[in-house]
């Protein structure tokens, strides 16, 4: 085994994307194979096997949505819940919300049904004191009943266990003795944080996923080993770090946004290398537009995410904002005569009208096809031979053109304008709404369709430029190869700042760092460096929402902190969030958040660059009529054949197997030394060039 090959694998709903990197030679290979739904391990192994000899691969890093899909389709297994007397319905009562503001429809089915939720007499109070100790025999009886009822995994959640896990630990010991498999977890291990619904939901969803993700990973591992693979299999977490298979089997909930998170990690790495550390990513998929913000090269993390109504997961995740406006989103004219795009989607089946599979509702993709922006003769992905332009035109004419009194072309333009406006709204949401000036930011579109909309989005939002990675369609697979190993931990402290003993905080920080460091060590990997980050959730006393206050410490997380330092850090974080601070109001520390990061060797992105002998002329593919404000002759180019330094002025279309890049009139794209495209207004580019001269 040469031990230098690393393969990233992102299994999506339609395609499995692969990215191979040879650390010794810098060689790169990419591939896209159809996903084998329900038999993901089969397609996975076949795809990897086609890229390289399995015995030559030192690590396979996997982004998976198997867990998320199982949750959304309610295809998890039967899990049981043992909880505090009086509280078995917490999971089903949620936070007393409803699905939508207007209209009172929509019920809710919890991840663990009511007959598999049992209570035991036990109680801890908010201050951590135990009012009623748990009776091990009662726990044993409850667990037996759940087993008899067919539960395959067990979650134990007691009230206030974040303040004192003693009762949960007793219950865990009893349950472990008798439970036939390892799928038993307590909430204080999964999420030692105040708020019982969020903790119960996260622990319950984890239990439901354990057998699903566990058996999936076991199947993948078995197949790979049988094929001669002898390296490390690693899994990407929603926080953008990787973990070992053993950790993933214990904490499958951390894979909830695995694939999309890997895409953002890749974006951050590419952007830093290219010299643009402030980036907003825009992933145009079939049904959605996923956006995330990277400031200073660091992706924003969210503490919590809702997978679907009532399915709440509270674990640090790369913050990805999703709106229902993707290539397959359906355009329609509502009763008020307003053009609406999405959230309904044509999905993969029947898909957009141009797929010719029976779809007769016009989609964003249909508009791109009708306007000549997508090459109907060479669809990306390779599953279809050609696209049906006439079917797309008919659908647009019937559903948008006639109701609005517009020609087919004008209607298609209107669809794109409204779709772009919705996407722009999502970009503003993560930038302007969070206090970031879009002029400082670079848009990084990925997915097959992202680069079709980039030029328009630059103008709509006022972003500086777009950076289009060399392989936009396999960005998540690239991210798998790049991601560091990362583990997070939260601990509720809930003390006034004036009562916080810096030495006690230091002890908590060291404890968290050593627990997480041990996880890192157990994975048995070599790291370039190890980093420890600590953050406090703080607020004024009386507020229930907190601001995240990063603590400025040495890279290994060590260093002294005074209450004054913490207070100053809080005021600075608060002011940037709300534009004011409250004089004399006392301050409280709710949670300590710790992350330990094992940095993996960086891949050299220069290996993605076009060959040195590439010539501009060889990339020419003639012209094609494409509609912008008017119909124009756009230059058509083979994107991957463009040499470093090449400048292509709009209007132009750059084609490659996994994506299409559109350059609007007045904009231009330059190939940077990594093979990325830097897309900007021609006027801006000229100005930059002249000042540098």
């Amino acid at each position: 085994m040469s031990g230098r090959l690393v393969v990233g694998v992102d299994v999506g709903g339609t395609y499995t994307d692969l990215f191979l990197y040879d650390d010794a030679t810098g060689r790169v290979r990419t591939a896209k194979v159809p996903s084998t739904r329900g038999q993901e391990a089969v397609g996975f192994t076949a795809g990897v096997g086609a890229l390289a000899n399995l015995g030559d691969i030192s690590a396979i890093v996997h982004g998976t949505t198997v867990g998320t899909n199982a949750l959304l389709e309610r295809k998890g297994v039967r899990a049981g819940l043992i909880t505090t007397q009086g509280f078995r319905d917490v999971l089903e009562m949620r936070r007393r919300d409803r699905r939508q503001t207007w209209g009172l429809t929509g019920a809710f089915i919890p991840a663990i049904e009511r007959d598999l939720r049992l209570e035991v007499a036990e109680r801890t109070l908010a201050d951590g004191s135990v009012l009623i100790p748990v009776d091990p025999e009662e726990v044993r009886g409850a667990a037996q009943r759940l087993l008899a009822a067919g539960a395959e995994a067990l979650a134990i959640v007691f009230l206030h266990s974040y303040a004192n896990p003693a009762n949960e630990r007793v219950a865990l010991a009893v349950a472990r003795e008798m439970w036939p498999n390892g799928h038993v977890a307590i909430s204080s291990d999964i999420l030692p944080e105040i708020r019982e619904f969020e903790r119960t939901s996260t622990t319950a969803l984890n239990a439901v996923l354990q057998p699903v993700v566990g058996s999936y990973l076991a199947a993948v591992d078995t197949r790979l080993r049988a094929g001669g693979f002898a390296g490390e299999l690693l899994i990407v977490q929603s926080n953008g770090g990787v973990m070992s298979v053993a950790t993933a089997e214990q904490l499958p909930i951390r894979t909830a946004l695995s694939g999309p998170a890997a895409g953002v990690i890749a974006a951050a790495h590419i952007a830093i290398a290219a010299g643009y550390p402030d980036v907003i990513t825009g992933d145009v998929g079939g049904t959605s537009f996923d956006v995330s913000l990277i400031a200073g090269g660091i992706p924003a993390l969210a503490a919590q995410s809702t997978l679907d109504f009532g399915l709440v997961v509270r674990t640090p995740m790369i913050e990805i904002t999703t709106i229902g406006a993707g290539g397959g989103s359906i355009a329609r004219v509502d009763a008020a005569g307003l053009l609406q795009i999405g959230p309904q989607s044509a999905g993969a089946l029947p898909g957009p009208a141009c797929y010719g599979a029976g779809g007769d509702r016009p989609t964003v993709t249909d508009a791109n096809v009708v306007l000549g922006r997508i090459n109907a003769a060479r669809p990306i992905g390779g599953a279809l031979a050609a696209l049906d332009v006439d079917a797309a035109a008919r659908a647009i004419e019937a559903e948008v053109g006639r109701p609005l009194g517009l020609s087919v072309t004008a209607a298609a333009q209107a669809i794109l304008r409204v779709a772009n406006a919705r996407m722009a709204g999502a970009l503003r949401l993560v930038s302007i709404e969070r206090g970031h000036d879009p002029k400082r930011f670079t848009l990084m579109p990925f997915g097959g369709g992202g680069a079709l909309h980039a030029g328009a989005l630059l103008r709509e939002v006022g972003l500086a430029r777009a950076l289009i990675p060399r392989f936009p369609g396999v960005t998540s697979a690239l991210g798998c190869v790049i991601a560091d190993m990362r583990h997070d931990r939260v601990r509720t402290l809930n003390v006034p700042l004036e009562a916080l003993e810096p030495s006690a905080l230091r002890a908590e920080m060291d404890m968290a760092a050593s627990v997480l460091g041990a996880l890192l060590e157990r994975a048995g990997m070599a790291f370039v460096a190890t980093r420890v980050e600590h953050e406090l959730d703080m607020s004024y006393v009386g507020q229930t929402h907190t601001v995240a206050v990063p603590l400025l410490l040495a890279p290994d997380g060590s260093g002294l902190l005074t209450r004054g330092d913490i207070f100053a850090a809080f005021e600075s974080a608060y002011r940037s969030a709300y534009g004011r601070v409250l004089p004399d109001a006392p301050v409280r520390v709710l949670n300590l958040r710790t992350a330990v990061i094992g940095e993996r060797p960086r891949i050299d992105l220069l290996s993605l660059a076009p060959p040195a002998d590439a010539r501009l002329d060889d990339a020419q593919r003639g012209t094609r009529p494409v509609w912008f404000a008017d119909q124009m002759h756009a230059g058509i180019w083979d994107r991957l054949a463009l040499p470093v330094g090449a400048i292509v002025a709009g209007p132009a279309v750059l084609e490659q197997p996994d994506a299409t890049v559109l350059i609007e009139p007045g904009q231009q794209a330059r190939v940077d030394r990594f093979g990325n495209l830097v897309l900007e207004e021609a006027a801006t580019a000229a100005h930059v060039a002249s000042t540098h001269r």
Binding site: M93, L104, R195, A336, A421, R422
Partner: protein, 540 residues
């Protein structure tokens, strides 16, 4: 105006209101705003105060009343200047009740008011006889809290500290009030900055045109919905248990008439204004009509155009047309009943849109006492219940009321903040009305006092009249409120209203909230669904 620019601007403007909502929720001090989202933001017409744009997350009932609130400021302050911020809680001109503080701020362009921004939120305490301001026994607003008429809090960007001092002095929890005030100001600052950016990007004329067009289109959409209703008249009535003073039911009657493409909602026959605090102002009545219509026709855009093709007749001096000093603290109960009768009336007109009644009471609970160190504590919470069965399926169990998008604070947060222990937090078996699609389940909440002593109040309804089923569906279970004393459990004499009961250490309050009404004939229920109900204990 070209529909594409309009669609783009609509999204941009709604985002401003959404962002103001998010800022207030995150920065507020009291959990009723921060956790329960009892607040709202919007953009209002320069001349009339009519609602132009509304956020997605704000409390639905405020959507309707803020137009009246803005109008009140326009009326009183023709000399409004750039940098002014007005504040008030007068329910008779601005709707709802004294707990809801409204801040209104003009957006100036070229020396003239271009539009108004509003920020409203439910404050924790504004004085009055009862901590938390839900006083079931009030007979005049003076007992419900301190009334602030529209006044200038900021004049040309400078704080009028005297006004702020009066506001804070009125509250039992001045620190919380100050924190909430700062949060409102952050939201308004942000709204003004965002609005200026939109105006600079698109030009004032284009934005003004968009405002007019959005309203016209909502009206057009509403007309289309009304046109699809059959002509005719539908009559419904329901009752409030009592007014908190005298145990006599109070009628809420409505006659819905569809004729010549217009809808007339005539509330004649409703009870006269009452002594206790379930009166509402005319503004609040109109606002609750708006909320009901928006639930029935959710696709119609959220602005004042919704009401253009609708006439609302409110009988003078009824409990739906309160004047000072009639108490209005329990306004939520009355507007929920208005929505209930409207849902029942529409079930006859549009069976495909029929909802069984939701649980119909917010069960406002306050418990107040002093800690060992003498500091005052006020727990205030309102509770969930079942939604009605509907054409799509069973009603949601433990939902929030149709007038709010409020979420409930976690038990662990409440127990960490107040000296109480929740001994039960569960779905209430069998509380949903039977039906082809049954009502959602209400819930059981039982709370024990850990302090040596405290005083408890509950403001609730539906202890005498159940949430109703529609199209043959059965009614949901009624509200049951009980409290413990030295001699055992008691049911309050006024059904579910408790006025100042003293609790001692270890004594409990128990609320069993109503389920939703059923939809359609229970005999037609899918046998599998019926088996599941029995297996999981949802139905007995």
């Amino acid at each position: 105006m070209d529909p594409v620019t309009l669609a783009v601007l609509k999204g941009r403007l709604e985002q401003i209101a959404d962002e103001m909502d998010a800022t207030l929720f995150r920065a507020a001090f009291n959990p009723t705003i921060a956790e329960a989202h009892d607040a709202c933001h919007g953009i209002y017409d320069a001349a009339t105060g009519a609602t132009l744009v509304q956020g997605k997350y704000g409390l639905p009932i405020f959507v309707g009343v803020m137009a009246f609130a803005t109008h009140a400021v326009i009326d009183k302050f023709p000399d409004a200047a750039d940098g002014d911020i007005f504040i008030f809680n007068d329910p008779y001109v601005g709707g709802t009740h004294l707990s809801d503080l409204r801040l209104i701020r003009p957006v100036f362009r070229d020396g003239r008011v271009f539009c108004w921004l509003g920020s409203v939120g439910h404050w924790h305490d504004v004085g009055g006889a009862v901590p938390g301001n839900y006083n079931p026994a009030a007979t005049e607003y003076f007992q419900e809290g301190v009334l602030i008429p529209p006044v200038r809090l900021y004049a040309r960007g400078t704080l009028n500290r005297d006004v702020q001092d009066i506001l804070l002095a009125a509250s039992r929890l001045p620190d919380v009030a100050f924190g909430d005030l700062q949060a409102h100001l952050s939201a308004l600052d942000l709204g003004v900055a965002r609005m200026a950016a939109v105006l600079d990007d698109y030009g004032d004329n284009t934005v003004a045109e968009a405002f007019a067009e959005l309203r016209a289109r909502a009206a057009m959409q509403m007309r289309a919905e009304i046109a699809a209703l059959p002509d005719g008249t539908w009559v419904q009535e329901d009752f409030l248990d009592n007014d908190g003073r005298t145990d006599t039911p109070l009628r809420i009657a409505v006659k819905v008439r569809k004729q010549d493409g217009r809808l007339t909602l005539d509330f004649s026959g409703s009870a006269p204004a009452c002594e206790g605090p379930v009166n509402i102002s005319r503004a609040t009545t109109v606002a609750s009509v708006y909320v009901a219509l928006k639930h029935l026709f959710p696709e119609v855009a959220a602005n004042s155009g919704v009401l253009d093709p609708v006439d609302v007749i409110v009988p003078a001096d009824s409990l739906l047309d309160a004047h000072p000093p009639r108490p209005v603290g329990g306004y939520t109960e009355t507007i929920l009943r208005i929505i209930d009768v409207l849902f029942c009336a529409f079930a006859g007109m549009r069976p495909d849109r029929a909802y069984g009644n939701a649980y119909g009471t917010i069960n406002a609970l306050s418990i107040a006492g002093h800690r060992a160190d003498g500091r005052r504590w006020v727990l205030f919470q309102f509770f969930g219940g079942g939604h009605g069965g509907n054409p799509e399926g069973d009603g949601l169990s433990h939902g929030n009321p149709p007038i709010a998008t409020a979420i409930i604070p976690p038990v662990e947060v409440m127990e960490a903040a107040y000296p109480v222990r929740y001994t039960q937090w569960a779905l209430r078996d069998g509380s949903g009305g039977a039906g082809r699609h049954r009502g959602g389940l209400g819930a059981i909440y039982e709370i024990e006092l850990l302090n040596s002593a405290a005083e408890a109040f509950v403001f609730a309804e539906r202890a005498r009249f159940a949430p109703r089923g529609v199209l043959g569906g059965a009614d949901g279970a009624m509200n049951v409120v009980r409290f413990e004393q030295d001699d055992g459990w008691h049911v309050p004499p006024l059904g579910s209203k408790i006025v100042g009961v003293r609790l001692r250490h270890g004594q409990r309050i128990r609320i069993e909230s109503p389920g939703g009404g059923g939809w359609g004939d229970p005999q037609a229920r899918d046998p599998q669904a019926r088996d599941r109900d029995r297996r999981l204990g949802y139905a007995r």
